[in-house]
Amino acid sequence: MAIKTLTIDGDQYSAQEGETILTVMRQHNIPIPTLCHLEGLSTVGACRLCVVQVEGIPKLLPACTTRVEEGMVIHTATDKLKKYRRMIIALLASEGNHVCAVCVANNHCELQELAYQVGLVRVRYPYLFPKKSLDATHKEYVMDRNRCVLCTRCVRVCDEVEGAHVWDVAGRGINCEIVTGLDDAWGKTETCTSCGKCVMVCPTGALFEKGVTVAEMEKQKGFLKYIITARQKKEWVSFTDGQ
């Protein structure tokens, strides 16, 4: 496989052909926020948090979906990019109903974590306070669409890893929502195996275990790496931390 050389934030790196910019950055511990991307799932480039600037290309490109090219000169942390990332998080926050203080995911939430990371201190956009539904019909889990950021991790893990394909994206624009089955109640779907994978990969308090209260929902994401490495390499890594 061909080796490509590229420049990231002034330093030279080499990468395998076909690798994404994000892969290279992660290999070399170059920090960049991501939300929809999750190692082990397919890549969709939905959240746009990982956007980078590539010299010679007028638009911003998501690092998670863009493949490396020979001679690419990439900037990952310019003021403009930082500003856009803050805007993205602010838009996500104002589009749903995020009241962290009473949320099951408080202190264990990726959205919250990202807000700190990008230095979001104030949301300047008007909050939309949409009326979203909460589905508690499943015996073990709850879906609160008020906190969903539409990253589609649940959709992908359920389809790609569990093979059940319970989740889908319905509607457009502001009405876009994650639904179960053909927009049935979760508890009514016959395909759900109650494996809990969607709950664990969900970055926010949108999916959680029934009965948990404020700040009690900690997600164990190690399982994904465990399953993937077991399947692909026939190796068994630790379930809890993926080591």
């Binding site: 203080a101 009473v102 099951v104 909460l134 508690a136 019909t137 709850v142 508890g187 029934k210 009965g211 948990v212 209260t213 404020v214 700040a215 009690e216």
Partner: protein
């Protein structure tokens, strides 16, 4: 045509108290209204949420007695899950409830009411606050602050945070209590007990100083409502409802608090956001009742702890045997007796090895579609009533809070004080001060009345029979 005197809010956010005093054509006080402009829309806001979230939500919304809301909400949750909670969890929840009493009662007396009592109603308003008191009697004030801290410390140990702690949950509590924390509190105890006794002694001296004023401080007949324990003892967490009339007769007893709505109705008035609960058999407004310390001390047969029981006997002597203690001024005394009880009872709980148990939470699914939780908050009986679907999603929420239950009584008190201190067609400073102190008897949980640093923000208007404003005071 009646005339009107109004005490109104400058801003709602700051929670100013608005009071209107209606004069009749002869210039006498005909009515007084304590307007509440705070509206939290809280019950609607909770609909569609999960029952498990409610303790966290309710304790967040009300910052004045969060621990009481937390416990009451968790109890309503227990009812919906239809489970008994572990013994350790119940004792810890009891301790939390008492901690809220200590914190709140100490605040009411030392921070909010003492300045009036110890510096006098006629003292310079700029100094008639906790800071003025600090100059006047440093040691006394400092002790009061420490006592309040003791309550806060328990809440912090149990909940991990001082206020808004989501520690109690349906089925029990989240974290057990530790030996280190217990030992720290026991070490602190002697000082706390001494301060509670000091507070009780102080209020008794105040009774002598204000002998002339007390009879006009909300002295009227009403029912008294609260929870009592299985033997009729002073209760704060469990027990059943007892209703007593102004002559000391128990008119209803052993009422399951889960059936509160069969006995109490809620009336509304266009001029206040706060509802007017009343005792159904007597109707509105005849079914006026009072809750909180004065009610609890009236209705109970005894108090379990020795020092507080001794005081209860003295309290009973404030009224002839054919009457309940009907004077609202004695809310203060009753509150401090409860403070003493809470402190003694906490010590008793701290010595109970069960509180160090580690099994603190039972789990269950939704087993009932309706649940009620009731407990005695510092200001009176608090009810949370939830209706859920089979998945635990709230369909309807009703909360009956103590301050609302005292609403009619507060109006009655203001009217009595206004009548007594009315001086022509002007709003006088003595009248204003007494009205403020009258409201304070009830220690209402409205932001206007809990400004620790200074006076209650008031706006008074005096309006004549044709609606013409005669006088207006804001402060």
């Amino acid at each position: 045509m009646p005339e009107l005197i109004t005490i109104a809010p400058v801003t709602r956010i700051e929670g100013h108290a608005k009071i209107t005093i209606h004069l009749n054509a002869k210039g006498e006080v005909e009515d007084a209204r304590f307007h509440v402009n705070e509206f939290r829309g809280f019950e609607k806001f909770c609909e569609g949420r999960l029952v498990w979230e409610m303790p966290g939500l309710t304790s967040r919304i009300c910052g004045i007695c969060p621990a009481s809301h937390l416990v009451t909400s968790a109890k309503a949750g227990d009812d919906i899950l239809a489970i008994g909670i572990p013994e350790t969890a119940e004792k810890l929840r009891r301790m939390l409830t008492l901690a809220q009493w200590i914190q709140s009662h100490a605040l009411s007396f030392f921070h909010l009411s003492s300045p009036d009592f110890l510096l006098g109603f006629e003292a310079d308003p700029a100094l008639r606050n906790i800071f003025g008191l600090l100059q006047h009697n440093k040691e006394f004030t400092r002790k009061g602050i420490r006592l309040r801290k003791f309550g806060q410390q328990i809440i912090e140990f149990l909940g991990g945070r001082r206020i808004h702690t989501p520690w109690a949950v349906a089925g029990g509590v989240r974290e057990p209590f530790t030996k280190e924390e217990r030992d720290k509190l026991l070490e602190w105890y002697p000082e706390v007990r001494e301060t509670a006794l000091l507070a009780v002694e102080t209020i008794k001296k105040i009774h002598d100083t204000f002998k002339k004023e007390i009879p006009a401080f909300g002295n009227f007949h009403s029912l008294f409502v609260g929870l009592v324990g299985p033997k009729g003892e002073l209760e704060y967490y469990g027990g059943n409802l007892r209703i007593m009339d102004s002559t000391g007769n128990i008119i209803a007893d052993n009422i399951d608090p889960r059936k509160y709505y069969e006995h109490f109705g809620e009336a509304s008035e266009s001029w206040s956001y706060l509802k007017f609960p009343y005792y159904k058999p007597l109707g509105y407004p005849k079914g006026i009742y009072r809750v909180g310390p004065l009610a609890r001390l009236n209705i109970c047969n005894r108090i379990e702890t020795p020092l507080a029981e001794q005081e209860r006997k003295l309290f009973k002597k404030l009224a002839p045997t054919t009457e309940s203690v009907n004077n609202s001024f004695y809310y203060h005394y009753a509150r401090l007796i409860e403070l003493l009880f809470a402190v003694e009872k906490v010590e008793e709980l701290l010595h109970d090895p069960i509180i160090l148990g580690t099994h603190v939470r039972s789990k269950a699914e939704i087993n009932r579609l309706e649940g009620v939780g009731a407990a005695e908050a510092p200001r009176g009986t608090l009810f949370h009533h939830y209706w859920v679907d089979e998945n635990g999603v709230l369909k309807k929420v009703n909360m009956l809070i103590a301050t609302a239950q005292n609403n009619m009584a507060m109006n009655r008190t203001v009217r009595q004080i206004a009548t007594h201190f009315l001086d022509g067609r002007k709003i006088t400073e003595p009248m204003l001060n007494r009205i403020e102190a009258g409201i304070r008897c009830f220690d209402p949980c409205l932001s206007c009345s809990t400004h620790a640093a200074g006076q209650m923000p008031l706006h008074v208007q005096m309006v004549d029979a044709d609606g013409y404003i005669l006088d207006e005071v804001r402060r």
